[in-house]
């Protein structure tokens, strides 16, 4: 992500919006997707490309605007990460094409890997929602699911299972970030064995 000048905007609160989409749709949980676009280097082009996504129920997660690179046609490649229910994705891609935007790749998920991880400790007393917010911010991953189990009440340690979607090859660093956030709060992490780990 560091090649050339770039705009990299991280959409926060993705999980909240995702939960909302799930409720209103009553359908399947939102999933992360990536679309690669080609844009002409003119003011307003990027905004015009994002509108069909938002209007069709997509939740923007990040935009990678590779201004330093040009496609073979002399345009600027843009990668957009978004979240939407699976049945909405085709609608969004069609809407983009109707706007005359060149979609060079759709559906190859940038958040291509999901990882489950357990947090253990005094989760409620240490402000679980703040913990989750920090994890989403620091881990560069999207929280797709959480389950909490506190069978013995607030006095005893409770457990939470998080499911995070991360980019391919970035699972290990996302897990490392979760460890750092948890360690600040005195929580234990039971992490999965990830590819390439020791």
């Amino acid at each position: 992500m560091s090649d050339g000048p770039s705009v990299h905007e991280r959409g926060c609160g993705g999980a909240d919006a995702g939960e909302q989409a799930e409720r209103t749709d009553g359908g399947e949980a939102p999933q992360p997707h990536t679309v690669r676009l080609e844009l002409v280097d003119e003011p307003g082009e990027l905004l015009a490309a994002l509108k069909p996504i938002a209007e069709n129920g997509g939740n923007l997660l990040s935009i990678f605007h590779e201004r330093g690179n040009l496609t073979p046609r002399g345009r600027i490649p843009v990668a957009v990460d978004l979240e939407c229910p699976p049945d909405r994705f085709d609608v969004i891609v069609d809407a983009l094409r109707e706007e005359g935007i060149n979609v060079i790749q759709a559906g190859a998920e940038r958040f291509g890997e999901e990882v489950s991880i357990l947090l253990v400790g005094h989760l409620v007393d240490t402000d679980l929602s703040d913990t989750l917010r920090q994890i989403e911010e620091c881990a560069n991953a999207s929280l797709t699911d959480i389950s909490l189990s506190a069978p013995e009440g607030r006095d005893q340690p409770s457990s939470a299972r998080l499911r995070l979607a991360a980019r391919k090859g970035e699972v290990a660093s996302a897990v490392e970030s979760v460890r750092a956030v948890a360690s600040e709060k005195g929580l234990d992490v039971i992490e999965p064995l990830t590819e390439g780990s020791a």
Partner: protein, 319 residues
Amino acid sequence: MSPGKRLAVLGAGAVGASVVELAGEYGHEVTAFADSRSAVVDPDGLDTAAVLDRKESEGVVGQGDPEDALAAEYDVLVEATPTTLGDAEPGFSHVRGALERDRHVVLANKGPVAERYADVMALADESAGDVRFEATVGGAIPVLSTIEDLTPDRVAAARGVLNGTANFVLTRMAAEGLGYEHVLAEAQDLGVAEADPSFDVEGTDAALKCVILANVLSQGEREYTLADAEVEGIKNVPGSALDLAAEDGRTVRLIGEATRDRVRVGPRLVPETDALAVSGTRNIVQLETEYAGQLNVSGRGAGGPETATAVLADVGRLD
């Protein structure tokens, strides 16, 4: 198979006693046997059944001083005294004594190769004797000889379940929905856990084995001791964590990992169907190899006769 050897066995716990018991079956004779207080020596070979009976009934193996066993006639010293940390004594001195006499050493005691690997290897370099220690990692499971066959250069990592007690506790907690303390008490009643289980449940035992693996993989380029390992035990794993893992088709296992760069032991989330999710007291080691993908070796990681088979396999590999 090399010809029969004369063995001096130090340590009369479950492993040492089993080595003495099984040596004859493997074509070897025991010329010396010592526990912490006594020894018995016979250059023509001990009557092993009689010696083991005496240990059983009187609590000693013979009339001699434990030092007598070290000075006895033998080809291979089997060091099976309890693992000690730090200076790894008295095990380390036993190893030195044998190597300085140009005798072979086979270790079941983890201390010398976990805490003083470089010292042991330096002594072996100066000696006509060899040092082998298959029994220190994974009990009956042929882990180190497998790495030796693959060659350590072509093994990137070793990971696995290396403590049967911790694995038993986690397995029972998940299966019965019981708490840690409850299951631990049950394990103690069954003799799976010791009265003081801290060595097992705090991850120390698994960490020592991983340290040994890291030393083998590093081939002397870097020396590991227990102090270099990141170690976390299973005491803080609540039943609720296992429940949440199970809902997701996963479970929690105390996994040890060793590479040339890192030694790490801690509770980890693994799929219930994963090879590493062995149940009960079973152990497994998974090797990440350069040309052969993942290689899993599983079996009994502890126990007298089980570990003795690893000791005797090492004896058989000596020239």
